[in-house]
């Protein structure tokens, strides 16, 4: 099944690992507040780094949720359809998802490639290459979700052959 595919496992492991980054964000933000009020020496890196870390999690969260097919869905019409129609609708939805994600991957890849080529930086005092990194990560995650959707399409197509659920 699609949930056990290699691609789903990659998304799961990456998401589980990245989830600890939230803890890091909390810690560095608290550090910043302490440095500002208790020590009187505000940092210059916490602000940018916390945005980059949070965005990392947001982006990785997409494939993480998608591997379990848990993106929010309205199912009340779907649930009232006869089982045979349900299977076709499910396949259609996976195909539509595939269409969106492949186009998104295309756009994100161009964006990522350009940022990577020029080593795009934030243009602030720190001037870290955060945009190059994040845009690349976004393209990778969009691609990952596209491949996940392929496994969903395959699963839904196979499912058409079986009677019942």
């Amino acid at each position: 099944m699609a949930e056990n595919s290699v691609i789903a496992r990659v998304a799961r492991v990456a998401g589980d690992a990245a989830s600890y980054v939230f803890l890091v964000i909390a810690l560095i933000s608290a550090y910043e507040v302490v440095m500002r009020y208790a020590v009187g020496m505000p940092t210059i890196w916490v602000h940018e780094l916390s945005i980059a870390l949070a965005a990392t999690c947001f982006v990785i969260g997409g494939p993480y949720v998608h591997q379990a097919r848990q993106h929010i869905t309205i199912s009340f019409v779907y649930e009232r359809l006869p089982p045979v129609v349900q299977k076709w609708v499910r396949l259609l939805c996976s195909l539509l998802t595939l269409a969106f994600l492949s186009l998104l991957t295309y756009a994100a890849s161009i964006q990522g490639w350009q940022a990577l080529q020029y080593g795009e930086t934030t243009g602030t005092a720190l001037n870290w290459p955060i945009p190059a990194y994040l845009k690349t990560l976004f393209a990778i995650c969009a691609a990952l979700m596209t491949v996940q959707t392929l496994t969903h399409v395959y699963e839904d197509a196979i499912n058409l052959r079986y009677r019942g659920r």
Binding site: G15, A26, L27, Q70, T73, A99, Q111, F138
Partner: protein
Amino acid sequence: MSIEWITVLMFGSMILLLLLGLPLAFVTGLIGVVFTLGLYGVDGLQLIASRIYSFMNEYALVAVPMFIMMASLMERSGVAKDLFDAMRVWAGRLPGGLAIQTMVAATIMGAMTGIIGGEIVLLGLLALPQMLRLGYDRKLAIGTICAGGSLGTMIPPSIVLIIYGLTVNVSIGDLFVANIVPALMLSAVYMTYIFTRCQLNPRLGPPAPAEECDIPLGRKLALMKGLALPLLVIFAVLGTIYFGIASVTEAAAMGVIGSMIASAIRRELNWKMMRESVRRTMQTCGMLLWLSFGATAMIGVYNLAGGPTFIRELFTGLDVPAVAVILLMMLILFVLGAMMDWVGICLLTMPIFVPIVRELGYDPVWFGVVFCLNMQLSYLTPPFGPAAFYLKSVAPPDISLNEIFAAMWPFLVLQASVLMIVVFYPDLALWLPSLGR
């Protein structure tokens, strides 16, 4: 293609795809990319990628996972249970006392959570069995939990208000402060309703047996001691935001650290709890943010096609008083709310509505409050009423989804009344933030 047709096609196909069961995030995203391709060709797709990229780079957005994590930590500690038990001291032998106790606990818990879900699940596990055991009217019990549990997004911190503030560019701190009075009004109206109904018909909410009401003093003190620190964390977080000591994001991060310290002192902190909390945060953020990415794509192309101007002319062309335009917007939000998640609604409609609201001479902070109140309605209305689904996931199996939705009606009427009061008396929302200026 004319903008009239673009509008009809976009929103028509959105509703069709939503009903088909395509995930919301992909519905709006798909419409975004397809219309971009059709109107601006392949090169236009770059616009979508760059819009999504700039969306995820907002600093205030970092507060979202922080508040979700703070709530996840609190939910996994025994704080909620202790809070619920401690409220029994107040409830005593009032008619409907247990339901009122639940509502008070829900209101306080609302200050720990900024998002719907966890609180309803907790109340469904803690309060529902108790009320059913005492022989409460099932509908009253169910409605109390769903309405009370939804207060989490009304009482600051509120993720709804963070996203609203980001979308329309107003101070999130002001929004939080403005929401306090309407949120407490909502909670007070619920309690009055429960009290009145149980007063008229005591069989709806029988009091607890006398021996259960007498909690020994030692136990009371122990409860209070365990609660002191978590409550202190909540007040510290909110206070920091109100007095402008730290940014919303920093306050939220301090809230995470504070909740961890509080659970450590309560001897509840362990790796399992941490792991579950961060994973839960990851999952919620993944859903929320990708929903936002999709909505950003769709509204981006609609903006380019001249949608906002078209809608503004449509609204201002109506020869009606300003308040009628606001009421029309409320109606649109209500209808969308029955079918869509609030994130999608906020990102899709607010960039169009709020400039009109400003033009009409209303305060966007006030509009954020009425938007938030409107979304309270959306949690309870079928067919897409998340509150019902959350409760269903933990309720006894003999409680059906239909029964849950049937129990919502009185509370929906109450919510709608409070919404109307705040629409007609904007000062209820704007009074408190004006004090700070």
